[in-house]
Point group: C2
Chain length 397, copies 2
């Protein structure tokens, strides 16, 4: 069940707020420091960028999550605090300490995230000084959602309510991201809260499953950021423990929340005009299926074909063929919007009007059967437009 609004404060036990601290260069009135507060200590789990060039706030947050329950999250946009060396880590810790002081917690009970320009020292005094001005409320979710935006054209929130043992359990989240990395902006950040009760290991397992089928299955441009972070906080306020037969429905709902946020990011991708979903089946293994699906979503030739509304099965098949996933060219098939365009190794005579209609839908559906097994996977991508080039080429360091 989808519920409108509330994002990160939809689950019980959370408040949020934001302030304009002037971190975003030249836009002193734009919200750029955000605070999420948990009423009581929350079990937390986190997933970070796999990029070896990892930003200071990720290093600090990983440490804090490992130590135990969290009481809050502080985020700034406008500066990524990445490639900033030891000073960067000290600044991230200082930012967490300032937030902790404001909410009456210890520094290691606060997670920290940053997004924005790389390689410029964080204006940490300005950020720390602004935090006490934030007044977190249940209504503050919208300010929080806007304060973490960079090149995003709109805030992205999602909620699900799932009934576990006769009790409604809530999951809500917010995310930002437009290109996978952009030195002045971008990065993927996602914060998801729930009032379910989980232990740390279960929270970690649930988050990993959800992230793998959502944030790890999307691509705007194949580049991963130095700052990508997905964080789950579980307040336990519903009193319902996620275990036994409650596990699957909870993870499904969590995956739905993450998936909705992930698809919103792709649809809002830099210069994107079309969202497409790739479903791979007939793969030898699940990892082959993921590999093929993700290679197709990142192929520039597929992305430009989607942009041009071209049912170009040759590019789709060739992307699968170079992905490393095993496929049998003589048994492979490609469907676009439910229409066979290449079937068991041979082109078909497709209905042009039917295929044209597929490109008019809000999500363009591409199905590829690799013809070798039973494994499946899904991934989402956006088209590659001249506008993407303009956004990313016209910026000057």
């Amino acid at each position: 069940m989808s519920v409108a609004g509330r994002g990160v404060t939809f689950a019980r036990g959370f408040t949020a707020g934001a302030v304009a601290a002037g971190v975003k260069h030249g836009v002193a009135d734009r919200l750029d420091v955000a605070l999420l507060v948990a009423e009581r200590p929350c079990v937390a789990a986190a997933a970070f960028t796999r990029n070896q060039v990892i930003a200071a706030p990720c290093v600090v947050t990983r440490r804090h999550v490992a130590k135990g329950p969290l009481r809050g999250v502080v985020v700034n946009s406008g500066n990524a605090n990445a490639c900033t060396g030891d000073q960067g880590e000290r600044d991230a810790a200082t930012m967490a300490a300032a937030a902790a002081k404001a909410i009456g917690a210890r520094a290691e009970e606060v997670a920290v995230a940053s997004t924005g320009v790389i390689g410029i020292p964080l204006p940490v005094d300005r950020i720390s000084g602004s935090i006490p001005r934030i007044r977190p409320t249940v209504e503050g979710w919208d300010d929080f959602s806007r304060a973490i935006m960079t090149t995003d054209t709109h805030p992205k929130v999602a909620e699900r309510e799932v009934w576990l043992r006769g009790t409604p359990v809530r999951i809500g989240g917010v995310a930002k991201g437009a290109g996978m990395i952009h030195p002045d902006m971008a990065t993927l950040l996602a914060f998801v809260t729930t009032d379910a009760r989980l232990d740390a290991a279960a929270a970690d397992r649930a988050l990993r499953a959800a992230v793998d089928a959502s944030f790890n299955a999307i691509s705007v441009d194949g580049d991963t950021s130095t700052n990508d972070t997905a964080l789950l906080l579980a307040s336990g306020a519903s009193g319902i423990a996620v275990e036994g037969d409650a596990w699957d429905p909870f993870v499904d709902a969590l995956t739905d929340v993450c998936g909705e946020l992930a698809r919103a990011i792709v649809a809002d991708g830099e210069g994107a005009t079309k969202l497409f979903e790739v479903r791979v089946r007939g793969a030898a293994t699940a990892s082959d299926a993921r590999l093929a699906a993700r290679t197709i979503t990142t192929s520039n030739l597929v992305k430009t074909a989607i942009h041009g509304a071209d049912p170009n099965w040759g590019r789709i098949l060739a992307a699968a063929g170079r992905s490393g996933a095993r496929l049998d060219p003589r048994r492979a098939s490609v469907r676009i919007g439910g229409t066979d365009v290449f079937s068991r190794g041979a082109p078909t005579e497709w209905d042009a009007a039917q295929v044209r209609a597929a490109f008019e839908r809000s999500t363009i559906e591409i199905e590829v059967d690799l013809g070798v097994g039973d494994a499946t996977a899904k991934a989402w991508g956006c088209d590659l437009s001249a506008e993407y080039v303009h956004i990313n080429a016209d910026y000057t360091t």
Copy 2:
């Protein structure tokens, strides 16, 4: 030493020619069937696309090269004969047989290559019928070079003369390719001839070394074609055997020829306005170095930064960081056109005029030190322009 012109007939013992057979849709007067003839049987080696969706001519040529010496090569542009099933293989064999008949050889002594639209049956009768009209000559290298073009804006040839044991040995080649794959066109094809004497195993080893440092180190868009082929023919007409101390100078010259052709392909990449060279050093292993260099050349964010003449070390470093190659962010460095922009883990104060000048050069030089070892690699890429998007989006199947 570089010599102007002649390409595939620069080495002794080869003639070439081409004819307009009307394979290229709607351009009946454009050369589209090309023939290379060797005076006597040549030792041959070949490298093919690693894409599992491999075209029929590659399958047939692999078979013929395995059988032994070759007497000629026949190529058509306008139709890739890919995803055409068993009929495609029969058509490729028929095309080889027609060329063999015209030059008085056996079918398995002829290699065959195709480039063009995917999934459409080859007009094999039209091609076979046109082959007897070709009159191969030493001067025919230019016609050959033009007949194999698709979206290429100009023919690409390269030659080297290398003195081995007091005798000049010649290596010449021709290549075509503009996007790595494009259903109506593109694909990488390269044909290199030499009058050196090699046995089959040595020819294979030399070609693999040269291809790895040239055609396998370039990227226009990260997509690989169904038809990519690089073929080496050695006539032995110089009388000089490539063995002992002649090995290194020969392989260097062969690598130079392939490298010049490869860079010409990138510089002529679809929509490309700038060529850049990435030199990675400080890598833990040679394969790490290659991985980092190639990931940087295929990053859309790096490619758009190059397009915008932006010395964006953050994107370069982040691409290296996600490549899978081991790097130490605190010891890594990035130089652009010889200017340090990021040095041992920290941004530098660079000279803007110096960096601007680097972007004016015909090849933009990017150096990345991963800070963990001694291994090095080079790769070449081109910028990503709005024109690339137009070329690839405005085509309709």
